[in-house]
Structures are given as C-alpha cells and as structure tokens.
Symmetry: C2
Subunit: 273 residues, 2 copies
Amino acid sequence: MDRQLLIETIRAKQSFLCVGLDPDPARIPAHLGTGPEAVLAFNRAIIEATSDLAVAYKPNVAFYEAMGADGWNVLAETMAAIPADCLRIADAKRGDIGNTATRYAQAAFEAWGADAVTVAPYMGRDSVEPFLAFEDKWTILLAATSNPGAEDFEFHGGQDGSPLWRKVLEVSQQYKGAERLMYVVGATRPEWLAEVRAVVPERFLLVPGVGAQGGSLEAVCKAGWAESLAGGLLVNVGRSLMYASAGEDFAEAARTEAWQLQKAMALELSTSR
Amino acid sequence: MDRQLLIETIRAKQSFLCVGLDPDPARIPAHLGTGPEAVLAFNRAIIEATSDLAVAYKPNVAFYEAMGADGWNVLAETMAAIPADCLRIADAKRGDIGNTATRYAQAAFEAWGADAVTVAPYMGRDSVEPFLAFEDKWTILLAATSNPGAEDFEFHGGQDGSPLWRKVLEVSQQYKGAERLMYVVGATRPEWLAEVRAVVPERFLLVPGVGAQGGSLEAVCKAGWAESLAGGLLVNVGRSLMYASAGEDFAEAARTEAWQLQKAMALELSTSR
C-alpha cells in the first residue's frame, strides 16, 4: 500500500486505527483451546471482527518467536488473514547491518508477507537502507518511544542540546529511500509528538500507547496531525482491544472497542484545523 | 557458562575465538546439497572441525529467520550441536520492552538454547533488564560497532562531548543484573576499544570485525586486554573461516583457519602486559 492509497484508505474508512496483535497464549479465551491453532483462530477472529474499522494490523514478532517454529507459521498465516485494504506491519524492531539486514528484510517482507517492518536505528545508515531498498514496502524507524527506559538514551543530548531521537529523524531523512520511512513515536507524551511532527511534517507516524498505556487519542491528534496526510498517524491499540473480553464474546467486544475508536477518529478527521 | 568458567575455558583452550555461523545458502559447498538440511550439515561440520579451538559460536539469527520456519529448527539444531565447553551466542540484536523483551529472551534462551544473546540498547532499561533477569545467561549489548553507519548515532555526542556508546556503557552498569552484561565493540578501530575497556574494565567484550572486515587481532588485544579476565575478549571470525574453502575440504580449511587464529591467541595469552 503506497502513501497515496494509505491516505485514501484512511479517508474512506474514516479511521487510522492500527490493531496490535500480540497474542499472549495465557490470555486466549478458553473456548478456543490452547496451542498455535488457538492463537491463530484468535487472531483471525479479531481481524474479521475489526477489519472494516482498521487500516493496519501490527503483530509483534516476539510473541510469535517465543512459540517456536509453530509461531513462525502462525505469524505468516496471521499476515495472510489481514485483508489487502489494511497495512500489515511486522513489529520486529530489527537492527543489523548490510547483508544481515537484507535477510531480516526478506524474512519480514517476503517470508512473513509484511508491508512494513519496525527497525531500530542504533547502528545507523547501513542497518536501515537495506530495508528501504524494498521499493513497495515501508520501514518504520524507532524515534521517541513511550516506555520509561526511553529516557536512558533516546534523549541523550547532542552538544547543541538536541536529543538522539531528533538526530535519528534528521539523519535518516538523508538515507536512500527515505520517502519510504515512517517513525514510531509514543502517545504518552504528546509534547514530543509535536516536536517530531515539526521535524518530519511529511511522514506517517506509528503511535503506540493509546489505551492500556494511558495515551489520549485527542491529545495525540492535537500534537501530531498532518492534514495533507489525512492526519499522518497510525494509532496502535493492542491489549485494550484484544482482551476487551476474556469470554466467548471476545471478538464482538473487540469490535465494540474498535468501533468506539473509529468514531473518535472520524471526529478527528472531520475537525477543521 | 559463568564468568569464572569462561575464564578457565579460555586459559585451558588457549583461545578466545568465537566462530560466526552466518550460513549463506548460496555459499554452502555444492556436495552438501541445498536447503535447510545442507545448512545444518554445513554448520555441524564447521563446529566439529573447530570446537577444540574455539570458546564460543555465534549464529546470526537473521540468516536462519530468512529461511522460514525450517530455519527456526536449523538454528535450534545448530545450537544443540555446539559442545557444552563453548558459549552459544544468539546474535539477534533484539530490542523491545517489558513483556515483549521477555518473549525475545525466552525465544533465545529457552527455545533456541542460547547461553547469550545480543541486544540493542536504543529503548533503554526496560528493553534490557528482561534479558538480564535470566540468571545463568549473558546479555551482550551493542556499544560501538565497526560498520560505517555507526557514526550516525553511536557517536552522537552529549553536552559534555561524551558519545552515545559511552552513555550506553555507563548507564547500563546501573541495570539490575549488570554483572551478566557483555558489550559488542568493533575491531576495526582499536582506539574505541581502548576507550571502552577504560569504562568497563571488568566486562567481557564481543569483538567482531577481525578477518574479512579487516581488523587486526594484535591491535584488538593491545587495545582491549583485561588480564584478570584472561583478556576479557571474545574475538568473532565469520566469513574468512566459514568460507575458507568452497570445496569438499571446507571443514579442514576452516580448521586450519581456526588453528592459525588459536595459535595467535595463545601467543597473546602468554604475553606479559
């Protein structure tokens, strides 16, 4: 899904909801059973119940990797279950160099069938450009995340007082294929989001942290909106949607949660700024 | 393998060689065939031919991940083929937070059977401590790598002019379980290695970049030696050993390469400093 189609999809669906698919085997509703098949059935039901209300799905690869070789197939099958009008984001946070990065990109884009992959910037240009070389795919670089540990290094200040995350935004704009970059920016501190938006007015931002982590959709939109990109935001909601109910009605409960988010997003899309 | 046993193993084997196992399917000797079985047979032959001369093996997970679900099994089988007197390092460069990091740690330490895993520091404390929580395992944090892109962010200077990699070393010493940390430091610029050693005199350093990438063993030892740790270095050699011959004698050729490295390492271990 290219940039123009993503913008059109957001406008058509009146939504910029990204659904996190981080299935904890211990939280799969009991009636689905256990094991890899249960996880896949759970994911498929969540996708089916929400795909008209969402524009992206984001499985976190760690949850699949921890399941062993079976998890690998569950991840690929989950990606295959996501309809074509939704962006398939592999949240992998990979970061290695040269031909090794190319292998990670092949795993994400070719073997798992993802449209986008999250990447860690620590090692610099030659750890990012191999992902950007895939012309019809997106690379989503970590910038300012919302976890407590973000303070340790992401805010390490340059000699001009400029934090590392700003350097990541600025330097990565020079990478070959930078037009295929998005950035991860946490929802819990909207003031950072506003600063990020000022540096990269033309990029989509993947924003986790709304919902269970306490970020507010309204504050995120106020801080990070880019009108020419239909907002330029993909707001990820994970646990509060996936585990809205632990019972047999889990998919309906997830749909209700997604529907409420989509209504709030439609309102943001109709707001004149 | 705990710290004391690692030191004793280095002294007993007179080696601090780490063998990189990054099998490129296109470079597997033709007589082994193709596909996952050929990669596993290749790895096993390399391990068997070199394990008395090495103290660690380091499969890079990307090479296995790119093979699909089969690669997952090849990785676990490769780990299982590494004898108990060698450290099994999963070069995964993972970096995610909280319970997600725990899943990556479970994948590496439990599912793949690794003794150690490489981790990217970008997201800070809550992306590293879940790995350190595994008490009999090692976490190897990226510090100053030897790739060209390292200049982009790893050397981003603080307001006191202190680079990010130094901040990573200093801050991570405060993490819970820091005694189970090692660091990745590239071999190609020994001046960094000397600076790193000055900040973390009591930590093992995993040093890639000797061999195909042009780093010199002698310069690495001169810059990074810690006598109380039998040097405190794990020097990784990958391509120049794995692909020493493309023919049926590939394992013998790898052994010859490993033997030459071990001789040079024995000389370093006997040097008075």
